[in-house]
Symmetry: C2
Subunit: 207 residues, 2 copies
Amino acid sequence: MTTAPQPLRVLLADDEHLIRGALAALLALEEDLVVVAEAASGPEALAMALAHRPDVAVLDLQMPGADGVKVATSLRAELPDCRTMIVTSHGRPGHLKRALAAGVRGFVPKTVSARRLAEIIRTVHAGNRYVDPELAADAISAGDSPLTAREAEVLELAADGAPVAEIAERASLSQGTVRNYLSSAASKIGAENRHTAVRLARERGWV
Amino acid sequence: MTTAPQPLRVLLADDEHLIRGALAALLALEEDLVVVAEAASGPEALAMALAHRPDVAVLDLQMPGADGVKVATSLRAELPDCRTMIVTSHGRPGHLKRALAAGVRGFVPKTVSARRLAEIIRTVHAGNRYVDPELAADAISAGDSPLTAREAEVLELAADGAPVAEIAERASLSQGTVRNYLSSAASKIGAENRHTAVRLARERGWV
DNA sequence: GCCGCCCCATGACGTTTGTCATGAGCAGTG
DNA sequence: CACTGCTCATGACAAACGTCATGGGGCGGC
């Protein structure tokens, strides 16, 4: 019935000061949680984690420097005892998959309440996983990426509307090859041209 | 030296429960502020505002139903005494312009601290304006849209990668005309093709 | 060892775009 | 009224793009 003598140490990483601060304040209301560090960017999150060795790292997906998943990957290597979880505004199916592959144990949208987040932090700390049901359903319905490695790479290079010549140069491929990859990628995705292909692939988290 | 007997009544609208709740908690720490209503969508924000008649409405830019600027526009008509301000994660220059045109008196990114936000709420309530300096600078450097009405319209229709034929049909224009508009829009923007034009126009808030 | 799949390339073909010239109708402005 | 700028259109040409057939090299599975 008594509170555990060892509070659960949390790292909070989010580039939006407003949210980070507010979150820290709300989590502080939970007796068994203590926010030991805050960070506003990917690299900073990593540094703070190494310095403060938290039990759980709560990472925003989109941060300057390195995104949450990248931070989680590094953390896993350098601080294996630290559980990681991702909080995000716009959860795309592919992100979830990448996150789980990176050893992330929790994946929740920012639409949850703070109380609920606190519960999930405890769940994660206990060694269990938690994935938002809605996001999980999306991920399942979106399915696996049908794209090969090169197809995805070329598609990504095409994302900003660059012409084939530029893509070819940046990928060190011939223009013909690039067009073949773009063509096959688009047909796999079911898009009429590469631009809609890029958009759809993005929506499904395949790039 | 005593606190004003009439606390400043605030409406909070943000679709992310986590943030909204956390923000409400932080603002509650300010003695002269009281959050009288919360909303998770545009329409709900409007309804709550009419029901609770707050002094200041703090609106997220991106919400389901109607975005912050639309809510501000409606609010201005239906509740002229209520000051409005926008809080946003990704501030694009064009949004700021639209917001100011809608009578919004405050425009801040979510990177500010809660204390700072509280100050700005007071500033706005006092009848003054506050615009984040960084966003203001961006807006100025981005300048006015050089696009004509049709150019912008056609560009928007091209946003999802649709072929010219489809754009022409949807805009009830001939294909040649569409290509002319796209061409002139792209050259005005300084893009090599319409897809990068769309991207750049989006970044500058012109579409 | 054969088969399938991915990787990379080339050449060829038809289609889609981007660009330019040109012109008509129709505002708003000086 | 002349002028300017937006709107809409057409035709024509070059460049970019999408698609297909074809082929060689590599790598893992049956």
